[in-house]
């Protein structure tokens, strides 16, 4: 009986990859542990090992094929000729067998969160006519922003775990070591509290550090320096002590990594006076705002999202593409209801808006982009136009950015409200591991659409 070999997920967030090379061919006998193929993702090349014994039946995806979806059948293995115990063979195959269940969920999730081309966010209006647009992943856009600022200003350096020789745990700093050398692209030991403090001190000493946290979950170890040292010292010193530093890294839920690795710290940092907090969604915003963050005289917490790193968006080809901090962006214009979101939530909001359009509801989608200072003017202007609002946030509901937006609407937009503002957030539980529970805990387009129906009374 043939066993199907499926495209493996090599990282929690991988959705597809390139089948770079087959190391076996039909008819080859393989046993557990043999390397069958090399698979490339946007982060790395990994070897794909056999779990079962048998003879390669058919190669279904030829080598060199790009964009092979996780979970797709790429080859078959026929059980051994004598096949005395087919049952255990089928029952075992843990990797491949476990994968389909997960991958089906993931595939759906992937389909759900990948913005379709007609949902492409509008670009900031201030671009000169005829500016060429270059499709760029968020990952590359972030790297380009750092590289361009490092070329322009010798005080800028990058420090963090695995940023140099490993080329970045999520490959965001790929290539920087080669261009700028080990004095400016600095691998640290695993010591978040320590290197966050050293970075902060270096900023106080006149440099412009970019401190990468492998994820913001680990920045919890360092939060004292972000808040007590970086955010407050300028005020406490009567404006003497500048701290132009960027703390950046992935934030929010990734995929199936459990509660300790899945949290959105946007509301935490956005509550602290003295910090600038940025959480972009698309590649152009990531690039333009990271450049602005590096140039800023203030300490900036720059929250990225691992699930978005690999997504491709148009980025304007301009030498000096810098976006304003503190300005939200209307990514989809509409007249019936306003959906406010940021980071990965914007993708869900756009998808919900697209569904709602089919149902006759014209939703406006606002990407906050900066969480502190908050662009309340754009939010309130939209509310004045649509009179209804939903806030979509991939994060806990209590004391969230959504809570803040709702407060702003109450305090400053009350007369424009035709319905209570609703928030669509993750469930108020630590993020579970099981695929079905995790999916149930996170926001998605359907939940946002349901809330929109509620505030529109239809």
């Amino acid at each position: 009986m043939a066993i199907e070999l499926k495209m493996p997920a090599l990282s929690p967030t991988m959705e597809e990859g390139t089948l770079a090379k087959w190391l076996v061919k039909a008819g080859d006998e393989v046993k557990s542990g043999d390397i069958l193929a090399e698979i490339e993702t946007d982060k790395a090349t990994m070897e794909f090992e056999a779990v079962d014994e048998g003879v390669i039946g058919e190669i279904l995806v030829v080598e060199g094929t790009e964009g092979v979806k996780v979970g797709a059948v790429i080859a078959t293995i026929n059980g051994e000729a004598d096949d005395a115990s087919p049952t255990p063979a089928i029952e075992k195959k843990p990797a491949e067998d476990a994968a389909p269940v997960v991958q089906d969920v993931k595939a759906k999730a992937a389909a759900a969160i990948t913005p379709k081309s007609d949902l492409k966010p509008a670009v900031d209006p201030e671009l000169p006519a005829g500016t060429a647009m270059v499709p760029t992943t968020v990952r590359e856009a972030l790297r380009d922003a750092m590289a361009e600022e490092m070329r322009a200003d010798s005080r800028v350096f990058v420090m963090g775990e695995e940023v140099a020789e490993y080329q970045g745990a999520y490959k965001v700093t790929q290539g920087l070591l080669d261009e700028f050398g080990p004095d400016r692209v600095i691998d640290t030991p695993i010591t978040e509290y320590g290197f966050a403090g050293i970075g902060t001190g270096a900023a106080m000493g006149g440099l412009r550090p970019i401190i990468e946290f492998m994820t913001f979950n680990f920045a919890m170890q360092a939060i004292d320096h972000i808040i007590n040292s970086a955010a407050k010292t300028n005020y406490m010193s009567g404006g003497q002590m500048r701290c132009p530093i960027v703390f950046r890294g992935p934030n929010g839920a990734a995929s199936r990594v459990g509660a300790q690795h899945s949290q959105n710290y946007g509301p935490w940092y956005a509550s602290v006076p003295g910090l600038v907090v940025i959480a972009p969604y698309d590649a152009a915003d990531a690039k333009g705002l990271l450049r602005a963050a590096i140039r800023s005289e203030d300490p900036v917490v720059f929250l990225e999202n691992e699930l978005v790193y690999g997504r491709t968006f148009d980025v304007p080809k301009l030498d000096d593409f810098v976006l304003p901090i503190g300005k939200a962006r209307i990514v989809r214009e509409g007249k019936d209801v306003t959906i406010v979101s940021y980071s990965i939530g914007v993708g869900f909001a756009l998808e919900a808006a697209s569904k709602l359009a089919e149902e006759g509801i014209d939703a406006e989608v606002i990407d906050l982009r900066t969480l502190r200072p908050l662009d309340t003017a754009t939010v309130l202007a939209s509310l004045a136009k649509t009179n209804r609002m939903v806030v979509a946030e991939e994060g806990f509901p209590i004391c969230s950015i959504a809570s803040e937006i709702i407060t702003v609407a109450m305090e400053q937009g009350f007369d424009h409200l035709d319905a209570p503002v609703l928030r669509v957030c993750n469930e108020d539980v630590p993020l579970p591991y099981a695929a079905n529970l995790e999916q149930a805990a996170l926001i998605n387009a359907d939940k946002i659409a349901a809330a929109v129906h509620q505030v529109c009374y239809r």
């Binding site: 004095d183 320590g194 290197f195 403090g197 902060t200 001190g201 007590n228 010292t233 009567g238 203030d298």
Partner: protein
Amino acid sequence: MAKSARPSAAKPVAAKPANQTAAKPRASRAAKPAAEPTIASSVAEEAAFALRSLQQAHANHKRYDASDEELLKFYEQMVLIRRFEEKAGQLYGLGLIGGFCHLYIGQEAVAVGLQSALDEGHDSVITGYRDHGHMLAYGIDPKVIMAELTGRGAGISHGKGGSMHMFSTEHKFYGGHGIVGAQVPLGAGLAFAHKYRGDGGVCMAYFGDGASNQGQVYETFNMAALWKLPIIFVVENNGYAMGTAVKRGSAETHFYRRGTAFRIPGMDVNGMDVLEVRQAAEVALEYVRAGNGPVLMELKTYRYRGHSMSDPAKYRSREEVQDMRDNHDPIEGAKAELLKRGVTEEKIKEIDKRIRQTVAESADFAETSPEPEMAELYTDVLVETY
């Protein structure tokens, strides 16, 4: 010293030349299957490790050969700190200073001895919340310090920092940090900036015996040694972490040894003699400025007052404090030395009088200058407008 502790290494197994033992690669160890050579090589490494070399240099030449003029200057600075802190204590009692206020009385020789060896305005200094003395030792105007203590607009932080949060970027004094131990990695960051720019500067980062038990201190030791940062870690061991005596809070009470695991040489220094302190600083600075990486200095000192103004210091005896005052006081010590050198009592009195005048003026200034404008509430939160 290791003889009795390492019986198996006592056998004379091929001790390597000391200068070859640093960073032994794994390959050579793997080539020798027996356990003994590994131990022998680690013993040899230990011997080569310069942990005690600076201490030896200090022991060989304990006290700084100060000119009369220099010693008078040290005396004057120490008296300034003493009188300033006494005045601050008074103003606190009158309710003119609020919040937390930690006095430096008794520890004056540390800041004065060490910082007199630095290049003021070029080398960086950073400390914790007991910071008034370090500022005065770096030549910062006592008026703006005292006015900060009273929370006035003319204070060095415009009245928004207070006792624990004062800074002077002009003097390269970087605070004044209220979170115990936080100044240690921040100081390493300042040292990092010196090295990155190649400006030849050094950072002196002070912390106490209490802060020495914070984890971030060791994270910093590791990176500072790894990257050979130009930093002098200064433990001001005044015997008490707030109310906890060193022996109740520290498994290793010899703080200068605590860099050993990171290959940071340590120095054990008498912090009650300004000339010993200064000479130790010379040794440490020479080592650090030569690009060898950090030094850890332990300055044995004593605070006469409580941890902060609200501390009655019931955890130690009156006799203990009196003994330090009578027999180890850094100011009395310097004064005795001056007299012995033939400096007249009159000249010393003249300094005392001048300092009293300076401190009285700073107190007047601090009491009479106005509180901050209400607009200050909203300034300096962010530098830029977004």
